[in-house]
């Protein structure tokens, strides 16, 4: 297993953001953590990356205890987060040049190919890039050193459909054979790339398994409404009873 979490807890005072989470990410899989905003996905990823310290429990990444992750392990982990703070006054080209020496396995050809494919302007300052461009740049930086594990924290958040497709395509082309841990608040976003999925709610994992397991265990409900029905709230009682049925299955 590339990532293994065992009974992970993270508490802030009386509030437990992560409550006894256990899961395992097999090698070569694309493992999606799916859950609503505030469910604890980002906290969980930060615990795994040793950015936060767990209150209880243990985790291992690439066979190393998460609390002992240092530069040698980080040389093999690519990380992209929607709220990553980048040196805004640095030019894109300079940022790549800055990162290169830190990664012994940095592949210049792959970097050039990713920069061309994602159309990253080398002369532009990072602070002048759009949100989508920043994410594309962070993704290129995370892939250019051919990491063993790629961790993506809400990589598609705030992207329009076109950029999202472009990022997904760029990512998929490079992700073959790579182990990926990705968090998202929309299942539809990760459905076409994930091989494994775990649903996170209120800091707990409610379900985990392969995508085919999910399809076997889950049920799809489709509702088609006209504008008038939606406008006058006629569908509200139906949604309420659907939610009740999900909470209290027969």
């Amino acid at each position: 297993m590339i990532v293994q979490a065992n009974d992970l807890w993270k508490s802030y005072g009386h509030f437990a953001a992560v409550q006894g989470v256990s899961f395992a990410v097999p090698e070569g899989s694309i493992f999606a953590l799916v859950g609503a905003s505030g469910a604890g996905k980002t906290t969980l990823i930060k615990l795994l990356m040793n950015i936060l310290t767990p209150s209880r429990g243990t985790a291992t990444l690439l066979g190393v205890d998460s609390r002992a992750i240092g530069p040698h392990v980080l040389q093999n982990i690519g990380y992209v987060s929607e709220n990553q703070e980048l040196p805004g006054r640095l030019r894109v080209g300079d940022y790549f040049a800055y990162l290169r020496p830190f990664y012994p396995r940095w592949d210049r050809q792959l970097e050039e190919s990713l920069r061309r494919q994602l159309r990253l302007p080398g002369e532009r300052r990072i602070r002048h890039l759009s949100h989508g461009m920043r994410l594309k740049m962070a993704l290129a930086c995370a892939l250019a050193f051919r990491p063993q594990l790629l961790v993506l924290d809400e990589p598609f958040s705030g992207l329009d459909a076109l950029v999202r497709d472009e990022v997904t395509e760029g990512f998929l082309q490079q992700a073959s054979g790579l182990t990926v841990l990705i968090s998202s608040h929309e299942l539809a976003e990760v459905e076409r790339i994930a091989t494994h999925v775990a649903f996170v709610n209120a800091g707990k994992i409610m379900f985990q398994g392969t995508l085919s397991d999910l399809r076997e265990h889950g049920r799809a409900l489709g509702v088609i409404a006209s504008d008038d029905e939606a406008k006058f709230g006629l569908l509200r009682p139906i949604f309420v009873s659907m939610a009740r049925a999900v909470r209290e299955p027969a």
Partner: protein, 124 residues
């Protein structure tokens, strides 16, 4: 690795470094104009203000260089990069030494032996 961190900080902060160095050069020049008995009125008028500006510049530069890779927070880029904490600390210390202390030393060595207010006869 220290070299790469310093190089990155230089690319980001060179305008501030140049500004502080200019202040320092001007202070040296004013102290030269000051003369033995503070005859130059322009130098007497400008020196205190420029001295304060220089101190403010030094503080701003130190704060800026530390904030390029800030310690508090959980979103900083350096947290997920293979950077040794010792290297980061060393790079910041070296940057401050190279951009503040070295020019200060150079100006002190080149400064003619004039009597500044703090070294006037009245304090002896």
């Amino acid at each position: 690795m220290i070299r790469h961190i310093i190089s990155k900080d230089w690319k980001l902060l060179w305008p501030l470094v140049v500004l502080v160095a200019v202040f320092q050069f001007l202070l040296g020049w004013l102290s030269f104009r000051w003369g033995y008995f503070g005859d130059d009125l322009t130098a007497r008028a400008l020196y205190p203000a420029l001295n304060i500006a220089w101190y403010v510049g030094i503080v701003a530069l130190i704060v800026a260089v530390v904030h390029q890779d800030a310690i508090p927070g959980i979103s900083q880029d350096w947290l997920i990069r293979p950077i040794e904490r010792g290297d980061l600390l060393g790079a910041k210390l070296l940057f401050v030494t190279a951009t503040i202390c070295v020019p200060m030393l150079v100006m002190d060595l080149r400064r003619p032996p004039v009597l500044l207010p703090s070294k006037s006869f009245t304090c002896c």
